[in-house]
């Protein structure tokens, strides 16, 4: 089973990298870019086959290491 995890900055946390990307997109001529937020995508291959157990495992991984809960949120999908 695979876990596909997105880690994103919480609302209200400034994202200077997102802002820089937004400026460059504008400079490239892309109109209509209102806001860019940069995050991380992490893919983990798990040996666990039970979806519920895998979900619990991934939750713990996110809370303990993959996301810093001071500034980041996470969400994930399990794919078999």
């Amino acid at each position: 089973m695979k876990a596909r995890i997105h880690v994103t900055l919480k609302q209200g946390v400034l994202d200077p990298q997102g802002k820089a990307i937004s400026h460059t997109l504008e400079a490239l001529g892309f109109d209509g870019v209102e806001k860019v937020r940069q995050g991380k995508f992490i893919e983990i291959e798990l040996t666990e086959t039970d979806e519920k157990k895998a979900g619990e495992q991934v939750e713990q991984m996110c809370k303990k290491l993959l996301a810093n809960m001071v500034i980041e949120n996470y969400d994930y999908k399990l794919v078999s």
């Binding site: 400034l14 993959l66 810093n68 500034i71």
Partner: protein, 229 residues
């Protein structure tokens, strides 16, 4: 004074801080490898500047879970003072020993220069040799030094008087103009609740001799020695 300096893969200020500690105490600290499970009995633990584990994921995030950190956290909880400089500060924040987190500098650039700091407190074991409210000049060298905490945490830090140093100008004025990296409330260094754990982005160990540009980092190490002697 028995000090332990934790050495992570890519620490690069570990020897600088060892020199500073030996300069004030006359005794070389023990250098403890990140893979060791135990920090020996000591009076002070230092997490030095540099990098750790490539600073993958987030600066300090992987180091915060290295084998040696369990022992560091245990000893810190038992009251052993801990000083984290630069990457060491990032590790302390990621390990939960200090509040907040160090984000990418607001200007996105690596900043390497001398900066001025306002000494907010001198009633701690790290700052007793400074004058409260004085301005000192020490270097910074970091990419991720932008201190962030949410409103509630920031209020707690301020209410509990836990700010150690703030970025200011040479006259000691704390303003947006002197905020080099976007840190909330210009925070350059912060204490834990007990005042025994200090994390700071600037490098006092690089300002301990006239040949290095000044001696304004030396009182920090003298303060520790005075209290722990």
């Amino acid at each position: 004074m028995k000090a332990s300096v934790i050495v992570f893969p890519a620490s690069n200020c570990d020897r600088d801080v060892a020199v500073a500690l030996e300069a004030v105490s006359g005794k070389a600290p023990a250098m403890i490898w990140h893979g060791d499970k135990d920090v020996p009995d000591c009076d002070l633990i230092v997490l030095p500047g540099g990098f750790s584990y490539g600073d993958y994921l987030r600066s300090g995030a992987l180091a915060a879970h290295s084998p040696v950190m369990r022992s560091v956290i245990e000893r810190a909880n038992a009251g052993v003072p801990v000083l984290g400089i630069c990457n060491g500060f990032q590790v302390l924040a990621e390990s939960g020993l200090l509040p907040g987190v160090l984000m990418r500098n607001a200007g996105l650039k690596f900043i390497c220069k001398d900066v001025h700091l306002k000494v907010e407190r001198n009633d701690t074991l790290f700052a007793s040799a400074y004058k409260k409210g004085s301005t000192i000049k020490v270097p910074v060298a970091h990419h991720d030094g932008n201190f962030f905490a949410d409103e509630d945490t920031l209020k707690m830090i301020e209410d509990e008087n836990r700010v150690a140093f703030r970025y200011c100008n040479e006259k000691g004025q704390v303003s947006d103009a002197s905020n080099i990296n976007g840190s909330r409330n210009n925070i350059a260094g912060v204490y834990d609740k007990t005042g025994k754990i200090l994390g700071m982005m600037p490098h006092p160990e690089r300002m301990i001799a006239p040949e290095l540009g000044g001696v304004e980092g030396l009182p920090l190490f003298r303060s520790i020695l005075d209290r722990l002697h």
